[in-house]
Subunit: 414 residues, 2 copies
């Protein structure tokens, strides 16, 4: 992609109306733009990052047997009445059409997927079943202020699993835990993300959150550095020690963190509301055991930026960078243009994703922008490199640059 | 994919609450499920079709320089006030949060994209620009009754183009027309889809619709069989002859059709509202000329089904079929299972998408389901074919079956 054509120019200054580092950097670098608090447009670079996050999640959820579908965002009132959540979910957006009919905007999808699966679940042979989607959720946040970390509208992967027994559910729940660990590891935040015990609501002892440690986090967790698990502060009063070892509250480390994912045993909470049952081997009706498993994609994107940035800009992990290589041409002399164009073609041909800064602006701005945008590998063609018959390259987080004339050197770094 | 595991069972009977052929077939065959009138869930098979439609559109829009982004669905009231459409767009869903703030659900995105592009458009050098998205739209339909053809919530590709001159806009508009023709051709409805002159609203003489001829259509068009263009009945009173030849109204053929896409000159309607201007070569501020270009993905899916079905079920064009091959195993004897399993592996290895009906149910139901689901190529392994050391194959729309032992025969048909 030629940067001169790319929609999403970098801004000279950091936006003043953003309090969070993630939004400041993502907006300034041209990844996102705020429509209003908690609601962002994703510009071409930002959408590429989102798509890569989505694809990593998709692969790992497919690997544990998830089947992808797509549920609506506009829900009739009735199923929300049926679960009793029409009145109790505080952040549900509600609307009424001109004929007086009430709707909710999906904040979560148990009210849609539970009745839906009744079409396919009849006997124990139809279980287990795992269904997921990437879909836009809406939650009424009155004071959204954390950039992409807490949205009124946000993309979410939500997976729902259905089981004939508590034992089968538990076995799947553990698989989901492992899948989540793989996902966050592939997203480049694995070593900052800890499994955290959280409230199980009124029907389970615990749920589990995946919390990414960063000072930008809105959640407070008590981290057991021994077990690499944590407990959400919300339940620490009842849960005074690490669930996996003997340590007491005052032996745990208090940390700020972002909830990037959660997994939740639903037991029969929603199966009961919709009478979702199956016939067991003896022909008796039994309620289906359910679990749900969420990951917020925008929030993950924000968390990655909170973890991976420096004073100059973003430092994307390779797995989610919108392009792998930032080819920066310094100077407009014909020979420089020619060599940079040729290198652009070559890198493209190798199948690597390359953003080519072919803009006719000052070298200083180009270098600043490259740091701000934060692609993993910067390659420079300038008067100096042309004279040497080489190009210069540098990894985003590295200090040192190097020269080479062999494009294969780049391949090794990708 | 093994059909025994697939979520989205076929229904024994056609759903009684669906009036339209597309919804009846898509719901019965397990592609979609109605949540309420005009709002559908896409089950795994349906999502695969949607994704293929999306990818074809993406490729053709990228080919005319479109850059993909993703805009929000939840809009603040203010930009809709600024264009004067808060009160005038009848089918706009509006809602108010608990703090009294008003929002609209995006029925279209001029109100979001026009202010957004001001971040990047300053001079004539920043033009032209073409941006698009695949995104969920919401429109307040009080009586949705045409299945996927008219939704309260639906996926749409919307492209917006920005130009420095009317001439540059016209040239892009013609390119978009050609791209749309390619898209509908690749989607398998090219020969049923005609360019149709429609109202240009208050600011252009015409807009253009792409109308797919089918008796299920909600629109009435006057078709000139000479020019293969049509005129929407809505403007026929003023537009008495074919715009491309001399024929009068009574020489045109009246037909029912589905509007699968439209392209619309916006002139400076929205640029004026948001003061979207650029500096021309003389340094003077000029308003940006805009165009918009839509395709409804669910509606296209419904239109394809209306055009491509018979009494037994859907007959998907190869380009959008969820799987290319339906491998149907008739019988559960070990040798049949073994040979079918082997063939499944082989077809998978060839990189072809195959749905494998490994269910332990009657042959009659399996064959009926294969016709209903409508994949392009049906391959049967049965006692008869095993005895012959072959498999049987048949294209969905063909009458005759054939036998072969050479898997390459299948490849030629894909």
């Amino acid at each position: 992609m030629k940067q001169s054509k790319l929609f999403g120019k970098t801004l000279r200054e950091s936006p003043k109306d953003e309090q969070s580092v993630n939004a400041r950097l993502l907006v300034q670098a041209g990844y996102a733009e705020k429509l209003m608090a908690g609601v962002y447009s994703f510009l071409p670079l930002g959408l590429r990052v989102l798509n890569k996050i989505e694809q990593i999640i998709r692969e790992e959820i497919n690997a544990i047997g998830g089947q992808e579908l797509l549920l609506p965002a506009l829900h009739p009132r009735e199923p929300w009445e049926q679960t009793g959540r029409w009145e109790t979910v505080d952040d549900l957006y509600k609307l009424t059409d001109s004929s007086g009919r009430d709707f909710a905007l999906g904040a979560t999808h148990e009210e849609v997927i539970t009745p839906l699966v009744k079409r396919d679940i009849f006997s124990y042979r139809d279980l287990p079943l795992a269904l997921y989607q990437f879909q836009t959720k809406f939650r009424m946040e009155l004071r959204a202020k954390s950039g992409l970390l807490r949205g009124r509208e946000f993309l979410m992967k939500d997976l729902y699993s259905f089981h004939a027994s508590e034992k089968d559910f538990q076995s799947y729940y553990e698989k989901a835990k492992e899948a989540y660990k793989k996902i966050f590891s592939r997203l480049g935040i694995g070593d900052k993300t800890v499994l955290t015990f959280a409230s199980g609501g009124s029907f389970s002892k615990y749920s589990h959150e995946f919390q990414t440690l960063t000072t930008a986090g809105e959640d407070t967790i008590y981290l057991c550095e021994n077990c690499r698990v944590a407990v959400n502060a919300e339940i620490v009063s009842e849960q005074k020690v690490c669930p996996e070892c003997d340590r007491a509250k005052d032996e745990l480390k208090i940390a700020k963190a972002i909830e990037v994912g959660n997994i939740f045993p639903l037991k029969t909470r929603f199966s009961d509301s919709f009478r979702l049952t199956y016939k067991d081997e003896a022909g008796q009706d039994q309620p289906v055991i359910m679990g749900c498993y969420g990951i917020g994609l925008g929030r993950v994107m924000g968390a990655i930026v909170e973890v991976h940035h420096d004073d100059e800009g973003i430092c994307w992990p390779k797995s989610v960078a919108p392009y792998q290589v930032h080819l920066v041409r310094l100077g407009d002399e014909p020979e420089i243009v020619k060599q940079a164009d040729t290198l652009y073609e070559k890198i493209n041909k190798l199948g690597s994703e390359v953003l080519y800064d072919d803009r006719e602006i000052s070298s200083g701005v180009k270098l600043k922008d490259a740091d701000l945008i934060g692609l993993p590998l910067r390659v420079i063609v300038s008067a100096k490199t042309v004279a040497a018959g080489k190009f210069e390259y540098k990894q985003r987080a590295a200090d040192k640059t190097a020269l080479s004339s062999d494009i294969k050197v780049l391949l090794k770094l990708l």
